[in-house]
């Protein structure tokens, strides 16, 4: 049954960190990322896939340092990315010695990882980690065209973000001050409204985000109770559609709504409808949003991680693109 699940235990996002590429570093959130590669997005590696793995490692290392713990203190790591067989995550953590669970939730993986890590802590594990990444260059070659291929994009197309985000989720309270606490989670349902345009992922994912939000508010509360309702990567097109769909069902989220895909490339040229990819919401949450929860600017946040669960193969076979959106309710709490 679809309803928000309230965590009985106090589960905190003890620390978060991000790694990001050149364009992301040049964007409005550039100064907030912990590690950036402003040269060539390779992070010192010779293939794009290895570069993506390196970003995951850098983000996790930075988060562990911030939490003041070692890798051996992590009881379970939930990691995922966009590549076949989740290779970026598999190789990133092969030598870490951390118990590992690989995830695929397309661009919703950051929210999926947060949900599972929080549930694992709720079930009794002490400290878990959730890490996700996407890399423009590795995603392009798997989902679209070679990098140097000359083509034009449509205005509704989105740009895969080169970034990774890591979250240390724990029942322990080590740091003082305000910590983001995961109070509720709600896994989304798969929603397929028949969109099959690979260049309009926003339209494919927005109905899933609307389904999750409408489901969440069925059990009480209203959007204005929150400081921020932040979606993962709907971009401009998907954000507008989401607001329309919610408004049509009597839910006015517009005054509180923001989208990570728009935040990361706000004001940047050539990014069309905005950013997308696992790393998009992961990096924006790990840097901007959670920082604002820690410093008290935001107290009550709904994070809705959106994903387009498609493969180029099935789309070529004529199938439409199913969307998904997982919800995490985060509150700032003095510890």
């Amino acid at each position: 049954m679809r309803k928000p699940f309230k965590l009985k235990n106090k589960v905190y996002i003890a620390a978060s960190a991000s790694a990001a590429g050149r364009d992301e570093a040049a964007g409005p959130l550039g100064d907030l990322f912990d590690v950036t590669d402003t040269a060539d997005n390779r992070f010192g590696e010779d293939t794009w896939e290895k570069a993506e793995s390196a970003m995951q490692r850098l983000a996790l290392d930075a988060a562990l340092r911030r939490a003041g713990i070692g890798a051996e203190e992590i009881d379970a790591l939930f990691a995922g990315d966009l590549l076949d067989q989740c290779v970026s995550s598999n190789y990133a953590h092969a030598e870490s010695g951390i118990p590992y669970l690989g995830l695929y939730g397309a661009c919703s993986t950051a929210a999926e990882g947060m949900i599972l890590a929080s549930l694992a802590c709720e079930a009794g594990l002490g400290t878990c980690a959730a890490v996700t990444s996407s890399h423009f260059c590795s995603a392009e070659r798997q989902f679209r065209f070679p990098l140097e291929y000359g083509g034009q994009r449509t205005p509704t197309s989105q740009w895969t973000v080169t970034a990774a985000g890591a979250f240390i989720i724990s029942r322990e309270r080590r740091a003082g001050g305000v910590l983001p606490r995961v109070t509720e989670i709600m896994p989304g349902r798969i929603v397929d409204r028949g969109i099959s345009d690979l260049s309009n992922m926003g339209a494919a994912m927005a109905p899933a985000a609307a389904d999750t939000l409408l489901g969440y508010f069925e059990s009480g509360g209203e959007p204005r109770d929150f400081d921020l309702i932040v979606t993962g990567d709907l971009g401009r097109e998907g954000s507008d559609i989401l607001r329309d769909l919610c408004a049509a069902s009597g839910l006015d989220i517009a005054p509180r709504h923001a989208d990570c895909g728009l935040m990361i490339f706000d004001g940047c040229s050539d990014k069309h409808a905005g950013g997308s990819g696992c790393g998009c919401s992961a990096a924006v949450m790990a840097s901007d949003v959670l920082k604002n929860v820690r410093n008290g600017t935001l107290c009550n946040v709904l994070f809705v991680g959106t994903g387009a669960l498609m493969s180029p193969l099935t789309v070529n076979q004529g199938a439409s693109i199913p969307g998904i959106a997982h919800l995490v309710h985060i509150t700032g709490e003095e510890v």
Binding site: F145, E148, Y149, T156, A203
Partner: protein, 148 residues
Amino acid sequence: MNADNKTYARYAEKRAKKSPVLQNCIRAFTVGGAICSVGHALRTLWSAAGLSEDNSGMMASVTLIFAAVLLTGFGRFDEIAKYAGAGTLVPITGFANAVAATAIESRSEGLVAGVGAKLFTVAGPVIVYGVSAGAIYGAVYFVLTKLF
């Protein structure tokens, strides 16, 4: 697809910002036209260099292919193509870029499983249907010339 989904798909399609078709056409016409003019100039140059009419035409194509591959290698072709669209895609330059870009990208998987296996993943359909159309044209031409 159920009625709700049809309505949604129509709504999504209708509200989606369209590509600037007129601007794209003008750019494609100008850049594509410029490439073809360069091609013609090359043909004249090769002729002046003493090549036969057939060979100078072929060498003009080869020169354009070489230039497109070189620009692809330097990472400049996609920037021009982003502006020009069909203007660079339709002439032989687009084909050369599709092959060269794939070759560069799949180099990391080696010369056989990478470059060899994936070289024509983008340009493949052009070869398959180009050659097929040529064969059909040849057959029709043969039959018609025998009949009349």
